[in-house]
Symmetry: C2
Subunit: 391 residues, 2 copies
């Protein structure tokens, strides 16, 4: 299909080298890495090789600090619920922010039903958490702070190093949901000083169905999946070895190619932002202008519905999204856009454009031309637009 794919926040195509590695793994018919015989050992070797590559990407001091999971959501659930249940004696209060992913929000909601309390700090108009608000929110019974690394709707990067300094100082664990950052921008668990960090393989062109959780050595945490002795007793269940092998290769390339990748998508993002005013009027750009993902542009287009734009652009064979794919089907306005101060109408008119390494300037041009046409068409039938232009 001759499709212009600008929805990399929802899913990424696999790197050619990742495909090759996965196909080779499929043909190898890996055995159970926990088995004691030679086929088992060969599987265990492949598993540990991938773990080393992934640990390397986030600069973990020991590959054993990386636990393979099945998705970013599992990593987040494991981190938050695992720490909360294991450290309940220390306290039952958790600090988070208003713009977290549903995996964080709903994990915390589950804990609230079990007697935990949660303080959610606000963000500024750019979607940045204020570290001093985090410091103020920490109480005697706080045992965990969970703040994301980058926001999946507006792309804003959080001051995670400052937050980590505060949590360390106060003796509180810090979990960072870095699902949309790891492999996309540099993430160094030692430099940040984070205790737990959730990430996934697909954002850096590895397969879905495999992800990771960094758990700093010595962190008290329960497994989310109880059972066998896999993953150093931290995550039971037979490993998705084909996926893990793919994630390992994807991690190697992400580390090696990151500067080139960032430069590439940043150039497309800057081109889009530069050309946009020549194609549409009356829109707002969401997120922080500097502290942000290099591949994401969030645009709130006035007087129209983002969902209509997505569907009409789809007719033009262009893929973008209007909100987190994980929240498709929800009728409510985005909590992220509300938190940065967008009103309901502007939030509903939001488009998320995310570039990938395979995109070109021609893709930007195609998108801009199509967007101009779609916005004009939709505004013609928009009562809001009519009201605004005659009012």
């Amino acid at each position: 299909m001759n499709y212009t794919y600008l929805d990399h926040i929802s899913a990424n195509p696999l790197l050619a080298e990742v495909k090759e590695a996965m196909i080779a793994a499929i043909h190898k018919d890996f055995c159970n890495p926990s088995s004691q015989h030679t086929p088992g050992e060969q599987a265990a070797e492949a598993l540990e090789k991938a773990r080393t590559s992934v640990a390397d990407l986030i600069n973990a001091s020991d590959p054993k600090e990386v636990v393979f999971t099945s998705c970013g959501t599992e990593s987040v659930n494991h981190a938050i619920k695992g720490v909360a249940l294991a450290n309940a004696k220390k306290g039952k209060h958790i600090v988070t922010s208003n713009i977290e992913h549903n995996a964080v929000i709903r994990s915390l909601r589950r804990l609230k039903a079990m007697g935990y309390t949660v303080t959610s700090v606000s963000v500024d108009g750019f979607g940045r958490v204020k570290p001093e608000e985090v410091a103020d929110a920490i109480k005697d019974d706080t045992m965990l702070v969970s703040i994301m690394h980058s926001n999946n709707e507006v792309g804003t990067l959080q001051p995670v190093e400052e937050i980590a300094r505060i949590t360390k100082d106060r003796g509180v664990l810090f979990h960072c949901d870095a699902v949309d950052s790891v492999g996309v921008v540099p993430v160094d668990v030692q430099k940040i000083g984070v205790d737990l960090l959730s990430f996934a393989s697909n954002p850096f062109y590895g397969p879905t169905g495999v992800a990771g959780l960094y758990i700093r050595r010595g962190t008290h945490i329960f497994p989310l999946l109880d059972g066998g002795i896999q993953e150093n007793n931290k995550r039971a269940g037979t490993a998705n070895l084909v996926g893990i092998v793919g994630m390992g290769v994807a991690a190697e390339f992400a580390k090696k190619d990151m500067p080139r990748r960032i430069e590439h998508v940043k150039r497309l993002k800057e081109m889009l932002l530069r050309e946009l005013p020549h194609h549409i009027e009356e829109y707002l750009i969401n997120g922080h202008p500097q502290q942000c993902l290099p591949n994401l542009v969030s645009i709130s287009i006035k007087y129209i519905e983002g969902e209509s734009v997505v569907l009409m652009l789809d007719d033009e064979k262009i893929a973008v999204s209007t909100r987190s794919a994980c929240a498709t089907g929800s009728l409510r306005s985005s909590h992220v856009l509300q938190s940065i101060g967008r009103d309901y109408a502007d939030a509903q008119g939001t488009l998320i454009v995310t570039f990938g390494i395979e995109n070109s300037e021609e893709d930007v041009r195609r998108f801009l031309t199509a967007l101009k046409m779609v916005v004009e068409t939709l505004r013609k039938i928009s009562p809001l637009y009519k009201k605004a232009s005659t009012g």
Copy 2:
């Protein structure tokens, strides 16, 4: 590698057709099935096609009753913890058996730490649960019974239909861990009358990293993974679509080929049992002679260590196991063998041989010849054997 692989309870090779389907899925670069554009819809179609095939294998009345998970362990954790937390108001007592997999045992242990109580019923010398004991164990505050379909160490099939009649009669939910049964022997959720059934793709030659949980419509259960709206709001997280596509194809073939497969492995199992006395002496066969998996033989060989047999057979390029791969590394004796009355020494001398569709009579002969040699070698240096033969 010219390896005789007789450890299908630990891992299965992929069916050629499954490999093909997975490789095609890798090349297709499926998008996020939750996305609203055409690439998202194509992904959603592939996901729902696989769900229908899997639902068909277990005869679910509606594909929506099947939730895709990342492994059998996740399915079991989801079923047990999800039902326990959602139905706590009804009661906090759960009934299980003494021979469950660690995924069940440790999920229940986690719940016990949260104030739940558990009654574990015994099994007979063949490893069969007595339904009347389950009935006796159900109390006013019992909300769940969790009994496995087939045991992964001795192969015994449980009287699940009788248990389901009891739980239905008493208004208690019934979860069945059928990870080693689904796709291997006929499992029909409607015929059994079970409320929740855990299963995995690899036992029927599908990939690891993908599994399923059957949840009867109307069953009150919480997600284990909280977050997005995937899987009908029952399991958040981006789907492992390559794995799910593979599981779908594996399910189709498992359903179609099951009678032929059962006949094939049963013939090898019968040949092994028939020929064994001509190769070694002083052993016990574990499990029920009729109500059992057609592909599993558990042999307790007196006076020697199962782990030594596994390693020496590995030198002969033959793979078997001595216990659940999920329990490798544990120094304790198998709780299953203890429960059926084996003493510590006999339990330690146990081998699990599991046949697959690619095995042949020649594999059985190779195994028997090698086993004879290994047992003779090990008994020569066994103090236990010396004592028994001179005593």
